[in-house]
Symmetry: C2
Subunit: 341 residues, 2 copies
């Protein structure tokens, strides 16, 4: 069933039927009701391909996920973000186009997307410290929103959490408990957020005249395995840490495994703080907060990012929108005073 046929059965023109369905005022309420009833009866829905061609809008937002082979890190985070964003897209009538791109083909993918007009805007996640995507999207004149930020952040729209403050606060928390040998298990160095978190960590140490200990710092994709291996190595090595600061609950779970194997009790023998993205299946609060954590819902971020991006699409000429979210610090059972040496 298409518009033409529907119009024919109603003895109306396509124009009128189209207008009735799309809520234009030029049609009598009675007629509109008749059209809507007929459409429903015939199970008619306008063909989205035709509609998109006619309107010139794709009503679609693109998320481009780089598959870097190893940096699966995006994975757990991006899923929850996606769900948050997807909720809003659904509500606002936008489709979500997901592109998996083998790393390096990212630029080609964006150019393609821009040239063939399959989306009205794109979401950029996990920006690198120098990230070609931002300049490219500006050049392509495609509305976009960055989750996170990087470089000179004044020229584009983004939403980010206050990483430096969060990690500075977390470090202070450990320092206040008397810890001095604090390990930082961070995400891959190339990511802007990892750099910021490290800065927060270092600033807190510096404020008390302390220096970060190189053998207690590690960067990699934020997997459980990374947390486990690094923690194990550090705990078994010289000058082991008395506390860990981890960039993700997933890393912290690996740390917990390493501690468990060594008979170390979290919160007593060893302290762990992590950043909690509030992943839905790793709820930190079940049974009382397990980990002391800075927290900020990645899903909520996804929702808000989607809202902003849709705004940007509807009114592309507005000035950049920038939102910085503070994080909460939840005290859990994974931290305690530094045991006397």
């Amino acid at each position: 069933m298409n518009l033409k046929e529907l119009a024919a059965t109603l003895n109306l023109s396509q124009t009128t039927v189209s207008r009735a369905l799309n809520g234009y005022p030029e049609v009598r309420e009675e007629t509109r009701a008749r059209v809507l009833a007929a459409a429903k009866a015939a199970n008619y829905a306008p063909n989205s391909r035709a509609r998109r061609l006619a309107t010139g809008r794709a009503m679609t937002i693109g998320h481009v996920i780089p598959l870097t082979g190893r940096a699966e890190m995006v994975n757990p985070i991006f899923a929850d973000f996606l769900i948050g964003a997807g909720e809003v897209y659904a509500r606002e009538g936008y489709d979500l186009l997901l592109s998996m791109v083998t790393d390096g083909d990212s630029e080609a993918a964006f150019r393609q997307i821009a040239a063939n007009g399959s989306v009205d805007g794109v979401m950029v996640q996990a920006p690198q410290i120098t990230d070609p995507r931002i300049g490219l999207l500006q050049e392509l004149d495609l509305p976009f929103l960055v989750h996170g930020r990087t470089g000179d952040a004044r020229g584009y729209s983004w939403l980010d959490i206050a990483n430096i403050r969060a990690f500075r606060r977390a470090t202070d928390f450990l320092l206040d408990l008397g810890h001095r040998r604090i390990a930082l298990l961070n995400g891959q160095e190339g990511f802007d957020f990892a750099q910021r978190r490290r800065r927060g960590f270092e600033e807190a140490l510096a404020a008390r005249g302390l220096c970060p200990l190189p053998h207690l710092m590690a960067n990699d994709a934020m997997t459980e395995g990374f947390g486990y291996l690094s923690a194990a190595a550090m705990l078994d090595g010289p000058e082991p840490p008395t506390a860990f600061l981890a960039s993700s609950v997933i890393i912290a779970i690996g740390i917990r495994r390493a501690c468990g194997e060594r008979g170390l009790r979290m919160g007593r023998d060893i302290s762990v703080i992590c950043h909690d993205d509030e992943l839905s299946y790793l709820n930190n609060d079940v049974g009382g907060p397990a980990f002391t954590a800075t927290r900020s819902s990645i899903r909520a971020a996804g929702r808000r990012c989607a809202e902003i991006l849709i705004d940007l699409i509807r009114d592309p000429d507005q000035p950049p929108v920038q939102e910085l979210w503070e994080t909460d610090l939840t005290v859990g059972r994974s931290t305690g005073p530094c045991p006397a040496a």
Copy 2:
């Protein structure tokens, strides 16, 4: 830049340019080369909206994710599946349309999708025991593939793992180690896979004349919190289990936490087997297999499912494709002989 303009600059007709770009034989190689060069130079890509309207194909595959409010369970699994499928889609030139649907609106969403022709086929994940989606998609005559299966599985295409055999084998493994009080922490009862896994578990017990113990069985969304709370309650209750069988690594991580808090050493004081979907950020092999596990890569499943679905779309009249994958059993450090009572 559009086809018309490109054709004009080349002094060729739209027809010829289109054919040159799409690899039709009716155009001289020399002309084709000239066209391709010009297209590249002008950074031309055919408008996907127009192309879709003209061809009648959406070149898009839909994944519909039900948001059941609490059943976040789909979440960790679906992300890896999505990545696997997405790789194949990208390779084959298909787009991936992701729809988040609040539970219950599922039917409306499918009808909508079918009526407006925005996809050429859909992927169905995590089927319930009685799942209206399958009948609906058959009625709508939309190509689809089910990851998992349910009901009378002969009439449609699916890919599934041998859940019953996997869990029977895992249970046997524990029984062989002397365990008799084995707890089963399973996914939500409504899901077909959960039912099958339970059957495997019960069959193994029955084969040795044993009965499942109701107080040692729990079903819920497969979160870390569920694993933790159930394990804690069981361990602290009467007749605690000496072994756990968990439907997911994520649950097993919760079990590990509960054990850790109670000073129970996995593999010695308590045994744990889980099913490992090989989630990329929870690699069970890092540092030697942590958990004894039945395993099957969800990402590989995603890839294969995508291939099958694309096949189905290209040739809709072929008989149903059905694939059953066996799982591996990896012995890790989380299991050991049942400690003497």
